[in-house]
């Protein structure tokens, strides 16, 4: 029950199937990595889980701790315990990081309670310091004019501030330099807990040297075609997707 469970999910975009009978179960306490070639549907999966309306879900189920979240609003799904670190975080002009995260925290409090500003800023600054984000960033418009790496670090900052049950990180490592990669990995490892599950979407095995996954899945053409332990990422790195196609896809097709 304490898991993020996706069963036989079929999703179309403009009538074209993108996710095809996709199934995946992430119990709390585990880190799952999801790898797969460009355009295979990883971000589509992440956004469908987060409640994006533009995708046609034709069948399947998504359960968060046993409760269906399919068809729920993105804000409800967030409050139910899901966090998506975006592959391409949006720029929100005129909304400061501090006010943005504060609004998200406020949404988690009962109606008549408001945030304790002193505690809030202490937590925010501590977490920014840990992620080596300059405190001056609090007043800057969210993601506006941020470098690629700054955006990704800011996603992780939001994630650590909101303390979700399940974290989906969509290529958070892309655009990070080596130092930033370690900082972000440290941030994730600090959040690692028996009470929390992770789905880490990545193209690079390098990240998985720092965040050791429990399970690695390989996705191809809308579904998971092979799963293994952390070694699988290394094997994939050396053999490439042709190996996946030859070894797992054709055998599935027959």
């Amino acid at each position: 029950m304490q898991s993020l469970e996706i069963t036989n999910l079929n999703v179309n975009i403009d009538g074209q199937p993108i996710l095809k009978d996709f199934s995946l179960n992430i119990p709390k306490g585990e880190i799952h990595a999801l790898m797969g070639p460009n355009g295979t549907g990883k971000s589509t999966l992440a956004k469908v889980i987060a409640g994006h309306e533009d995708y046609e879900v034709t069948s399947g189920e998504i359960l968060l701790n046993g409760e269906s979240i399919l068809g729920k609003e993105p804000d409800e799904i967030s409050l139910a315990g899901l966090f998506l670190a975006f592959q391409y975080p949006l720029e929100i002009p005129g909304v400061s990081i501090a006010n943005f995260i504060r609004a998200a925290k406020q949404a988690r409090l009962p109606e008549n309670e408001s945030i304790n500003a002193v505690e809030y800023y202490k937590e925010l600054y501590d977490k920014m310091d840990a992620l080596k984000i300059d405190r001056k960033f609090t007043a800057r418009s969210l993601n506006e004019g941020f470098s690629g790496g700054e955006k990704k670090r800011c996603e992780v900052l939001q994630m650590s501030m909101l303390e979700p049950d399940y974290c989906i990180m969509d290529e958070t490592d892309s655009g990070l330099d080596i130092d930033a990669l370690k900082i972000v990995a440290d941030g994730v490892n600090l959040m690692r807990s028996p009470e929390r599950g992770f789905l880490i979407i990545t193209h690079y095995q390098r990240l998985l040297d720092y965040i050791i996954p429990d399970v690695v899945h390989v996705m191809y053409d809308g579904k998971i075609v092979h799963s293994g332990d952390a070694e699988l990422a290394k094997e994939l790195e050396s053999k490439g997707y042709d190996w996946v196609k030859d070894s797992f896809v054709s055998s599935l097709a027959q």
């Binding site: 987060a50 409640g51 804000d75 006010n99 609004a103 998200a104 949404a107 418009s141």
Partner: protein, 433 residues
Amino acid sequence: MNTTVNTHTTANALEPQWLLDRRNSGNETYSNLPVPSAKDENWRFASVLSEDIDAFKSAPMPEDHAIDYALSNSKLVEDPIAELIFVDDHLVQSKPLPKELIDKGVRFLSLNEAIEDHSHLLEPYFLKDSTRLGSQKYFGLHASNVKAGAVLYVPKGVEINEPIAVYHWSNTDKGLICPHTLIIAEAQSKVSLIDVLASTTEENRCLNISASNIQGHPSANIYRKVIQNFNSKTLSFQLDSAIADRDTQLENIAINLGAAKARYENQIKINGSGAHVTMYSLSVAEETQEFDQRTFQTHNAPNSVSDLLYKNALFDTSRTIFSGLIQVEEGAQQTDAYQTNRNLLLDQRADANALPGLEILANDVKCSHGATTGNIDEDELFYMLSRGIPHRVAMQLIVLGFFEEIIEKLGSDSLAENIRKLLEEKFASKIKS
């Protein structure tokens, strides 16, 4: 120390001849010019004014409860160094300048006081000219009726860092108010003045014809903000003109929230090189409100900058019109002149019109003009929702964020905070979950 003024004065025969002449010619202009029609280029897209303007009349001194209401709600500007509060064009309270500024020659006077005792100060500027953007008829009415307002004179080299505030409240149904603001900033002086226009009730339908005139002498630094927050029944004309001389720094900010129909004309003339003028405006239109904005940036001298940014958010079936002209005269080389209008449509029924224009007679200039109209970005919204922020709050944050680049230019944290609150109040009923 605040003093309450109880006298009731009107324009009268004791006025100097030059003023009587200007009032008469204003009256003639008002009577002779036709009511503008949408065929007039200056009134394109504006809805036709069906109202009988003559039905609006100056109102007598208001009753105490109206005055009390005005006094207890004149709070937008915190800790002004001096203040005037008018209700229906009657001065009801004034906080004079501190003695040390008066000793330095600074004058901050109600219009009546200025006419009586400082007519020489007024004569070169007062009612001589206004915007040339289509409202000459209404300026004529203003000139013949004006009896309330503020005259601010800052002598050479005197810098005032704290804001000066002027409140104009309308209180009477079918009342006419004609607030006037004259700022004379001598060379190297510095001053900041904030006009607030508002109504004491939700119901009184009033006609406002306000005019302001800023005279910026060389190297003066002038900051003028005007906040229009009349009730939704009001008809409002604001006719603002300014002259910038050599190295004058002039910053204009207009916040437009209220009125049924509000026409805002803002005209700046740069007559000296090295001047830097900014014109910012923020409007929130809802229901059937119409904001009609006409601007004119004239560069008569080289090496100067004028930068205009007008942002509008439109709810319901509201309308906005932005029509702006940049005119760069021959010889005004190395001019930088910008004009940007951005409209955020929050309802498909709302209607934003933009008429940007350029007229450039110099050949070495940097000018740009542009207008954009767009909706809330669905991806931005999804991003915010995905953090658990409810739809209503997300929309508010996006709309407030849209205005933030104007709000942060207000230069005062407390005023910025008070304006954000006003905006939030206005959105609260508009943005539903």
